[in-house]
Symmetry: C3
Subunit: 286 residues, 3 copies
């Protein structure tokens, strides 16, 4: 399980900008093996047990020499190989702003977030690794962080490939969300990561076409470790035609050992009228 | 816990007849013993923890020389001794059609399904076995698969007896659902089961009276095992006055060992306009 | 985990005064320790996992030489040091009547019950003990059992102190609920407990001012143990200006060992037209 407790500051709140925040959660992890040596298992949390029971939360997998097939609330193939920028703050200060400006999460068309998987109709993700190469293939209901409902509950496909060697990796993803009515949205995204000693740098560039032509987004994240202390930062920019937004985050985490970490951070963006959000607290893993 | 993943085909769906389907669930099983040697315990799933906390899901029991008393989402006494036909497919292809035609579940008046137990007002089932004889006595809110709301939240009573000797058993059940307004519904049902080597055959015949006079239903199920493979089939017919429906199902399960089973099946019925449903996937127990 | 099964009688019900009642629940308890020796942990139930994941149910804490800080669905500081009267019956016969007359729970302004903690905005409770002294300090959204909505979602503060020596203790609590509009509600409450052999007696007196001027409430509870049998009783009176209500409860519990207890009780009050409620059943801990 895991938990956290602390205070959260939201500059955009009308009142009560400073709030307590806490949570505690249990994680179920299950595994088994067939007589023929195939591994199977899955994971979900007690608080999303209802969703896990209908395929819209958690996930279940079977794996073997053929690779790994997972179903449920899985990420898309592009997100699988590219991932997100570093999480900031003990609450992962994220969510809510126009153009996805105030969030360490990179924008993906498919499988990004647990709202894409509808009850009884989960997503599927197939992955296969050999040497430094990883291939991923995803299929699910589409969801677009940018234009929400338009691409909900449509069929979506994603493919990703990642090549990692020593301390470097480069990834390429392509996704298509196919609404029942209207034009398909297409998204090509490239990412790279490099580790220099205790510093890891990550960058990505994504480009939309079809229904989301004119979308460009790119960002950079840095993680730097010094013994028990980890510093994290990101900057990202999203452009949709003439509109654009730049967001940034800065955080620090200090490990107390035994699964406890003091963590805090601040995120902000250049959208007119938007104010910073920040938090400080303790995270636990049990 | 348990889980499953695969694909489901629903011929009756307007679009997207073929869908992914997956789920993963955790099961809590608890037990204890008093100083005097009475056993007690219960079981429920994480995804119905809310219902288990108010008596409308899961169940709890105490047992001893006097028999066993269980409360919560228990079956009625008739279902306890007669049971259902074999489950078809990795998702237990069931539910939804007129006259209960497309479902391996036998129709019972009381305690059939977890909607009969209302919050804070669970059902109760008492069972006692001696030699080959089993007696069952149930009491709960009534629920009728056939006419739904009319018998919801009414008091219901059921009694059942089963006699098993060697590879044969015969069962008899009688149930009464007593609505606050109007006539009682009564249901007499007889069932039998016989095992020949690795083949088990099961049959039942049920007859309604009172508010459900004119209801007749009967069916046959067969389970045949060949090493890791199990074949399953059923046919059942429900008549209500002049109306009738016949449903059938055919399925196969292949055990991979370690708790993993590949399973698939098809169900259909003779209702005009109704199309087959089928599935194929893997089931896991952890 | 824990569970219970039995029958409940509610004299105030329009019909079906006698009902079955059962439940079964799982409890998650988590703990850890930092390298520097701080203990941390938390607890919640499977059926309130959703609330625990947003801070409105369960709780999480960190403790050390500085004391203990807990967040989530914690009690207020006054309730922490004074507590409630003995629980009556296997279902804790409580709830629902005017002036809180029919309930072993003592009336508190802050943190009383899990409705005060809103999603993402949990309560916080700090406690520190040294010798026989305990200090408590609480802060959370306000909630008033008496006038409900008026004090919901307002900031609230509470402070408590308890001194225990041998078989005696005395406690003092003070709470303020500060609505966004209108007058603050203030509440001063004093309590004491004494144990004579196998008998424990508990008493309290509380007095409201500000928005709840005219509120007075006081009560007495007794718990008496004889081997496996425990007898419990309480009487309490609440006055609001000219209105008043007196409630009382009487119960008995008999331990069967192994975590099973037969328990029953009756509660009633002097409110015109109100009838007794009673229950009898078995409680289990697993």
């Amino acid at each position: 399980g895991n938990g956290r407790m602390g205070v959260v500051y939201n500059g955009n709140a009308a009142s009560d900008k400073l709030q307590f925040s806490s949570r505690i959660r249990a994680v179920f992890t299950m595994s088994g093996e067939t007589d023929g040596g195939l591994a199977f298992g899955g994971t979900f949390r007690a608080d999303n047990a209802g969703g896990a029971a209908n395929g819209s939360a958690g996930n279940i997998f079977i794996s073997g020499a053929f690779g790994k097939l997972a179903m449920g609330d899985v990420v898309g193939a592009a997100e699988e190989v590219i991932g997100d920028l570093p999480e900031i703050g003990f609450t992962d200060l994220s969510g809510g702003l126009v153009l996805n400006a105030n969030d360490n999460d990179v924008l993906f068309l498919t499988g990004d977030g647990n709202i894409y998987a509808s009850a009884g109709n989960p997503g599927a993700l197939y992955t296969y690794s050999t040497g430094g190469l990883t291939f991923a293939l995803g299929m699910n209901d589409g969801n677009n962080n940018l234009s929400g409902a338009a691409f909900d509950d449509t069929q979506a496909y994603s493919v990703g490939v990642k090549y990692a060697v020593d301390a470097y990796s480069v990834s390429l993803g392509y996704e298509v969300a196919d609404p029942s009515v209207g034009t398909s949205a297409k998204h090509l995204i490239i990412g790279g990561e490099a580790t220099f000693g205790t510093t890891t740098v990550k960058a990505y560039y994504g480009d939309g076409s079809g229904a989301i032509a004119g979308l460009k987004h790119y960002g950079l994240g840095v993680t730097h470790k010094m013994d028990a202390l980890t510093l994290k930062a990101y900057v990202k920019r999203t452009e949709v035609g003439a509109a654009d937004a730049t967001g940034y985050g800065l955080g620090a985490a200090y490990s107390l050992g035994g699964g406890a970490t003091v963590e805090g951070g601040i995120v902000d963006n250049n959208v007119a009228g938007s104010k910073p959000r920040a938090d400080l607290g303790i995270k636990f893993t049990f």
